[in-house]
């Protein structure tokens, strides 16, 4: 087979971001990328939870707070605010998790200052009108009930509880009974307490001049002030690996296999090697896991592994949704491939392929306004700047076979991972028992 050559094209340079800190403590990160006359805006506000006892309540509060935040300000009601955002092409989304509050929108180039002004208005004077908050509280409760019927949600929750014990990350969904107890006053207090500029970062990418954005931002956010707050995050707890946690879902025609374990994050020297080990194992289509489970055995549609980077630490995960009747065989094959990663070196071809994919897709994902804005925001979540991208490119280029094997031995070994299966226990339990001890869900 003679294939056309790959040409060394002009390399994708890692983006340069203009970074600054406003007098109120808000960090800004701006990249000019005038590919279309649009601007991507993200505002990341850390909401670190330093207390595992109150984490569940904080997550319920954060969830309703984020979904009620656009119900009006001191100057505008819900409708006026929605109209004024739409008029500049924006559709502002607000979300919260155990790490942060995140505002996200794209806007026409001509509407950036409007969006920044409205963001500042929301941050300084979101009104949380009682009647609307009560209605949203009921909707949120029903949306959570709906989510809890999705097997993917159930499986993620079960793995998080298994891995994170009483850490805030164990709560991947707000508790509906805690949501039901919230009121507008609580949200207003919580907003005042948590939505503060120190430690927050505004990311702007698009058809802009960084100097102009700096002026617009400092004028828009001048009145958003507040003292710094603690930024300590709870370290992730240890968990007891081994066994299979089985969550019964009677009648399920598929089983959701979810595996997880501790990993290293973007600051760690072993991160690049772990990323490549992950790719070779199950992180992309040309991986061992996809070849085995999907292309050889037809057990599953889209098996996948990855490294989740959160503020408190990183986690290696494996996901596969498989036909009920092959559940134990699929777990066995997945463990087999994990074991092979940990015990034997990968080939030079596998490493080269994964490396080119890692470098190529890094360039692709930062080639669009939205992709770059999301990448930068994700880095901000770990306290990193845009320069990490160039450092990571260099690190990936230097990874050796021995580095990959060492990372696999440490982070992909079955003995250090937790396995969770959501499925029809009456069908799958016996065969799973022949692989490992069955544990009850946490």
């Amino acid at each position: 087979m003679v294939l056309p050559p790959l040409i060394e094209a002009r390399s994708a340079r890692a983006p340069r971001a203009a970074a600054a800190t406003l007098p109120n403590g808000l960090d800004t990160m701006v990249v000019r990328r005038p590919t279309v006359p649009m601007v991507e805006v993200r505002l990341h506000i850390p909401l670190p939870m330093a207390n595992s006892r109150t984490a569940a309540a904080a997550i319920a509060r954060g969830s309703l707070m984020s979904s009620s935040m656009l119900f009006g300000t001191a100057q505008r009601d819900q409708r006026q605010l929605a109209n004024d955002l739409a008029a500049v092409g924006a559709d502002l989304a607000v979300s919260a998790d155990a790490d942060r509050l995140l505002f996200s929108t794209a806007v026409l180039r001509t509407g950036l200052s409007t969006v920044l002004d409205l963001l500042a208005e929301i941050l300084t004077s979101a009104s949380y009108p009682s009647a609307e908050v009560v209605a949203e509280r009921d909707r949120l409760g029903q949306r959570i009930a709906m989510a809890l019927t999705q097997p993917g949600v159930v499986a993620r929750m079960a793995r998080s509880r298994r891995l994170f014990g009483d850490h805030p990350y164990a709560h991947t969904m707000p508790d509906p009974s805690m949501v039901a107890e919230l009121d507008a006053g609580t949200l207003r207090r919580s907003h005042r307490d948590r939505a503060r500029p120190y430690g927050a970062t505004l990311v702007v990418v698009g058809d802009v001049q960084p100097a102009t954005v700096a002026k617009q931002a400092s004028s828009a956010f001048a009145d958003w002030v507040g003292p710094a707050r603690g930024s300590r995050v709870l370290t992730l707890p240890d968990f007891e690996p081994g066994g299979i946690t089985l969550v019964d879902r009677p009648g399920a025609v598929q089983s959701n296999i979810r595996i997880g374990g501790a990993a290293v994050g973007r600051r760690d020297p072993a991160y690049a090697a772990l990323k490549l080990a992950n790719l070779i194992f199950g992180g992309y289509f040309s991986s061992r896991l996809t070849e085995n489970l999907r292309e050889r055995n037809g057990f599953t549609y889209s098996p996948h592994s990855g490294v989740d980077n959160a503020a408190a630490g990183s986690t290696f995960i494996v996901d596969a949704d498989v036909a009920t009747e092959v559940t134990a065989r699929a777990v066995h094959e997945t463990w087999y491939e994990l074991g092979r990663m940990a015990l034997a070196p990968v080939t030079q071809d596998e490493l080269d392929l994964a490396r080119r994919y890692a470098l190529g897709t890094l360039a692709l994902s930062t080639a669009t306004q939205a992709g770059l804005a999301s990448t930068l925001t994700s880095l901000v979540g770990q306290g990193l700047s845009a320069s990490w991208l160039a450092d990571h490119q260099k690190a990936v280029a230097g990874v050796t076979i021995a580095d990959v094997q060492e990372a696999a031995r440490r982070y992909l070994a079955v003995s250090s991972l937790a396995t969770v299966v959501v499925g029809d226990a009456t069908v799958v339990e016996d065969s799973l028992r022949s692989l490992a001890v069955i544990r009850n869900p946490e």
Binding site: G89, D91, L108, T114, A145, L353, G360, L364
Partner: protein, 434 residues
């Protein structure tokens, strides 16, 4: 004061047609060292024969199972090993395959696409393997979850009558399991002829160089007769239709409405106001239905109105539909939601749309189109679909301007037409307990 809506600088388009009939669209753009390649075949779920439901999608999977010079798995390795990504998708009227890669891998991507256009490996072994994979895809997206594929899989049965328009495009398991290598060979022979395809290439390249490569790799694919496409249009509904489906995994009800709309190709002028209407009704917090159903009357948990089964107004020929779906609580009846939607349409029809509101909707439409056009893949998908469905790649470039010209009167007229015609309603009844 309405915001000034910026427009996209026009990228030059280059077109050629090879002797074997392959239509080629080249869209050079050197803003990033990235290229995208897309091949669109003029066959989708609607062309599946009786007893072969799901075959177009199954065949899409099989196209990744190797070709004359690339063994199984090698397509993925070539693309990903060049630092790129790939995928494919099956629509009502076409099936597409695409890659996004670093610019230096363009020739290799063209080689890979040409190799499978010439001769995909169609063995029973790989077909059996992909039948298993597709069944798992259907289980994960439809059978093992609540609201699976609602309403695109269920509403067409109520809204349309012909097999082409109503059948399950994901496929019945019985049909999938009986698929053979001979079926695949016949399907390939009829529908995957170069004259039935469009190749689009975008990004950082030299037009002359790429023209040479296209000739080198694709000109050798032998010409074959292209199939006659039967019309899929259907007459208007003679009466309102209503059906229920029980979802054993759902805990809260859902509702879908479908309306017939003008031919998106033959009556493009008449179709465009419906695009603006769907945005006015349903896009963003400011829209009429979000205001009414969520914020004012607290009737729904979620609402969406959109054109086309999959939410793309421009990826299908006639017949297509205006779709509405809502999730609502058990304490709200489907009738309440239906009545509110009807009233809101009536209000647009009778009271019209003000200048400020229309400007706002136009700003949102422009912003969404611009955002879609930022990735090079988004741009060339627009060109390829434009060429295939509308006969002109330039369609994608002209669309923002055409939508911006839609006036308030024609939006009101579209709403009025919906009010006087019959519609299909599908209620999803929850079969599980909360």
């Amino acid at each position: 004061m309405p915001v000034r809506v910026p427009t996209l600088p026009a990228h030059p388009l280059h077109r050629l047609t090879l002797d074997n009939g392959l239509r080629v669209v080249l869209a050079p753009d050197s803003t990033a060292p990235v290229v995208a390649v897309a091949v669109y075949y003029d066959v989708g779920m609607r062309s599946e024969p009786l007893g072969r439901t799901g075959f177009a999608h199954l065949f899409e999977h099989v196209m990744f199972q190797g070709s004359a010079q690339l063994p199984k798995l090698e397509h993925a390795r070539q693309v990903q090993g060049s630092g790129g990504i790939f995928n494919g998708s099956t629509h009502l009227d076409y099936t597409n395959y695409f890659e996004v890669l670093p610019a230096g891998a363009l020739e290799r991507a063209l080689f890979c696409e040409a190799d499978r256009m010439a001769a995909p490996l169609l063995t029973q072994e790989t077909i059996d393997n992909q039948i298993d994979v597709v069944k798992e895809e259907i289980r994960v997206n439809v059978l093992n979850r609540p609201y699976g594929a609602f309403p695109w899989l269920q509403l067409p049965e109520v809204l349309f009558d012909s097999f082409a328009n109503t059948h399950n495009g994901y496929g019945d398991f019985v049909d999938l399991e009986s698929a053979t290598a001979e079926d695949a060979a016949a399907f390939f022979d009829s529908y995957y002829a170069p004259g039935n395809a469009v190749l689009a290439v975008g990004g950082d390249f030299d037009v002359e160089q790429v023209t040479q490569w296209v000739e080198r790799y694709f000109a050798g694919v032998p010409a074959r007769t292209t199939p006659q496409r039967p019309p899929f249009a259907e007459p208007a509904l003679a009466e309102d239709r209503h059906a229920e489906v029980v979802d054993p995994l759902a805990v809260t009800p859902a509702l879908a409405i479908g309306w017939r709309v003008p031919d998106p190709v033959g009556d493009f002028e008449g179709f465009l106001p419906y695009v603006v209407l769907s945005e006015l009704m349903s896009d963003s917090d400011a829209s009429r239905l979000e205001q009414r159903l969520i914020h004012r009357d607290h009737l729904a948990l979620y609402q969406a109105m959109y054109l086309g089964l999959f939410g793309d107004p421009f990826d299908a020929r006639d017949a297509t539909a205006l779709m509405f779906q809502a999730h609502h609580g058990r304490d709200v009846s489907a009738g309440q939601v239906l009545a509110a939607v009807k009233e809101e349409l009536k209000s647009v029809a009778e009271e019209g749309v003000g200048e400020t509101e229309l400007a706002r909707v136009q700003a949102r439409i422009a912003a969404q189109l611009l955002r879609q056009a930022d990735p090079v893949l988004g741009r060339i998908q627009g060109f390829a679909a434009g060429e295939l469905i509308h006969g002109r790649a330039e369609f994608a470039t002209e669309l923002p301007g055409r939508l911006a010209q839609v006036d308030a009167g024609s939006v009101a007229a579209a709403a009025s037409a919906l009010g006087t015609q019959h519609r299909a309603v599908l209620e999803l009844v929850p079969g599980a307990r909360a």
